[in-house]
């Protein structure tokens, strides 16, 4: 039984809506919600915390149906992208605000402990308006965590931060929630947040939950082209030609791939490939026992941070390939060159 679950949630706020949302989380799970703008992500969080009443469905937290409970009775914390720190309170008073209501003893020691964990212990006397974005965000996280909520909801908490502050805040956030074994639902547009923090991921689009599962399931086996595009995978149609003992062969039209996934002969399938699981070589490798070799033309190269994204055209099919900058320096290829993609059988995922 899940520690937290959403069962058949429907909510219609006119412009924004959610339909048939089901998922469950275990205690300590960190779930990342990803989806385009208008997918209903924020409504989901605000419904969970109790600000919108669902038209249908149930919200269960720690064995209790909280669907119709008042927000103040749910023990669910929320952190917003714009921090929502109370501007007329100091940082200390902001963090202590929830504790005061709960009548906790040793208020100061609780505040200091969480503030030190998030590296804002020296800012407690300051007003929120005098803090940087990263400091305000950590104060907002501290305020939510200090009351030890059963569930912590975060709506794009890192998106307004510069890359370096975001990395640091991610690290502190991960330590703080792991230490308390807090169950978290976090909305983000950045896949790096998912890689760094989450063990579960949900993809939303137009009010529907398209796919929910572990990072491995969703990133490696995206159910639709939309999800594949969103999580940066390549997906294409194929027909299973024959079944071997440990592998099957899939005719993808422009090329054939071998996968260790099992599928019936003649079955029409979708094949997914992760860009980081494809190796590029200028020359055709000789030992190909466990790997597929696909020849194609290098179409495009886009530098993104410490890696490059290559587009490889194989007939009419495009494969996305991620190459680290270090590997790229040794590759010595340019757009228009014929290259080979090496894909391990275990990395060809049938969806």
């Amino acid at each position: 039984m899940s520690f937290f679950s959403i069962e058949d949630l429907h909510i219609n706020l006119g412009e924004f809506y959610l339909r048939e949302v089901f998922f469950g989380l275990a205690k300590g799970d960190y779930m990342m919600i990803i989806g385009p703008t208008g997918a209903g992500k924020t409504i989901l969080l605000e419904s969970i915390v109790g600000f919108w009443k669902p038209d249908r469905g149930r919200i269960i937290l720690d064995g209790r149906n909280i669907t119709h409970e008042l927000p103040e009775k749910r023990n669910i914390g929320i952190v917003y992208q714009d921090y929502a720190l109370l501007p007329h309170f100091s940082v200390y008073d902001n963090i202590a605000y929830g504790l005061k209501k709960k009548g906790r003893n040793n208020l100061k020691s609780h505040v200091l402990e969480v503030a030190d964990a998030l590296h804002i212990g020296h800012l407690l006397h300051r007003k929120p308006a005098t803090l940087s974005g990263g400091e305000q965000q950590r104060a907002a996280v501290a305020r939510a965590l200090v009351v030890e909520p059963k569930l912590l909801l975060m709506d794009e908490p890192l998106s307004a931060l510069d890359p370096q502050t975001r990395r640091e805040t991610r690290r502190l956030l991960r330590q703080a929630v792991r230490k308390r074994d807090t169950t978290v639902i976090h909305i983000s547009h950045d896949l790096n947040d998912a890689w760094a923090l989450a063990n579960k991921i949900a993809i939303f689009k137009e009010g529907l939950l398209l796919q929910f599962g572990t990072l491995e399931e969703v990133f490696s086996r995206p159910k639709t082209r939309f999800i594949a595009d969103f999580v940066g995978a390549s997906i294409f149609h194929g027909t299973a030609r024959h079944n071997g003992q440990d592998a099957c062969s899939i005719d993808c039209g422009d090329f054939e791939l071998t996968s260790i996934d099992k599928v019936g002969n003649g079955a029409e399938v979708q094949v997914a490939l992760r860009p980081e699981n494809i190796i590029i070589s200028k020359d055709r490798p000789e030992d190909t026992t466990d790997a597929n070799i696909v020849g194609g033309k290098l179409e495009d190269i886009v530098a993104e941070g410490r890696a490059r994204f290559l587009t490889l055209k194989v007939g009419t099919t495009e494969l996305s390939v991620l190459v680290t900058n270090n590997a790229w320096e040794h590759l010595d290829v340019a757009p228009g060159d014929n290259v080979y993609a090496i894909i391990d059988h275990s990395h060809v995922r049938i969806v």
Binding site: F51, Y80, D82
Partner: protein, 260 residues
């Protein structure tokens, strides 16, 4: 030197023309025969009565206005309820009404209707009484105060209240701890504007409370009665006192608005 376009010159010119006309109009109030007369008029029994009654009724009405404007403004800003659009329209209507019409409506309501009789039975007779002045001022100023309070609460990020609720505070506790402190500039502005509207209300007071000499006589009534008698000195003095109150109100409002 920066070049000014024809459009910039035109709109600046219109602004200065209007300001000049207003300054002339206000200034003409101070072109009094003698400041000694003004001093004597201020200390006359009629003026002292009028000023005292204006301040007392204005203060009582302002307290009542703000007591209603705060919850109504908050409800209109934060709650979603059936008929909200209709409620907003009705509450705003007195702003567009001529004051005389509003006064007539109140006179009919508090006259011999069932509602009027209920109020009379608990000692609240509003027709041609000092209580009527407060009622007239209340209904004239209330829509302005509600508008300001609604805008003030609209301006406050509702997520601050959401977070407070999620931390265990009820809606009323959140209103007290978060919304009210953050609305303090708006409350100040609404209070000042309400007081100025109450002090300056004429038509509604005249119809509901009557314009009785030294009975239901507030500053605008003093001005009106003395103009009728041809006593320009007293009329000008009332005008100057009303102007001073309005100026102070606008000054405080501007200060509060800057802080909003």
């Amino acid at each position: 030197m920066r070049k000014i376009s024809l459009f910039q010159g035109t709109i600046t010119g219109i602004t200065f023309c209007i300001t000049f006309l207003l300054v002339l109009a206000i200034g003409s109030l101070f072109m009094v025969p003698s400041w000694e007369d003004i001093r004597q008029n201020i200390w006359s029994p009629e003026m002292r009565f009028s000023l005292k009654l204006s301040l007392i009724t204005g203060l009582v009405a302002t307290v009542l206005v703000m007591s209603c404007a705060l919850p109504v403004g908050y409800a209109l800003s934060r709650l979603h309820f059936w008929g909200k659009g209709f409620v907003k329209t009705v509450i705003d209507m007195p702003i567009a009404f001529p004051e005389l019409v509003l006064g007539l409506c109140l006179l009919l309501l508090f006259g011999s209707t069932a509602v009027g009789n209920v109020f009379k039975s608990i000692g609240l007779n509003f027709v041609f009484t000092k209580k009527g002045i407060v009622a007239a001022q209340f209904f004239t100023a209330l829509p302005y105060a509600i508008r300001i309070m609604k805008s003030t609460f609209d301006y406050i990020n509702p997520r601050l209240e959401f977070v407070s609720r999620s931390l265990g505070y009820s809606m009323s506790e959140t209103f007290r701890n978060v919304s009210l402190p953050l609305a303090k500039n708006g409350i100040m502005a609404a209070t000042v504007i309400s007081f100025a509207r109450c002090i300056g209300t004429f038509g509604t007071v005249l119809i509901l409370a009557g314009g009785s000499y030294m009975k239901t006589e507030i500053l605008p009534i003093t001005l009106y009665l003395n103009i009728s008698y041809g006593n320009m000195g007293m009329a000008l003095t009332s005008g100057i006192v009303l102007m001073a109150v309005s100026f102070a109100a606008i000054f405080v409002f501007e200060k509060a608005e800057v802080g909003l």
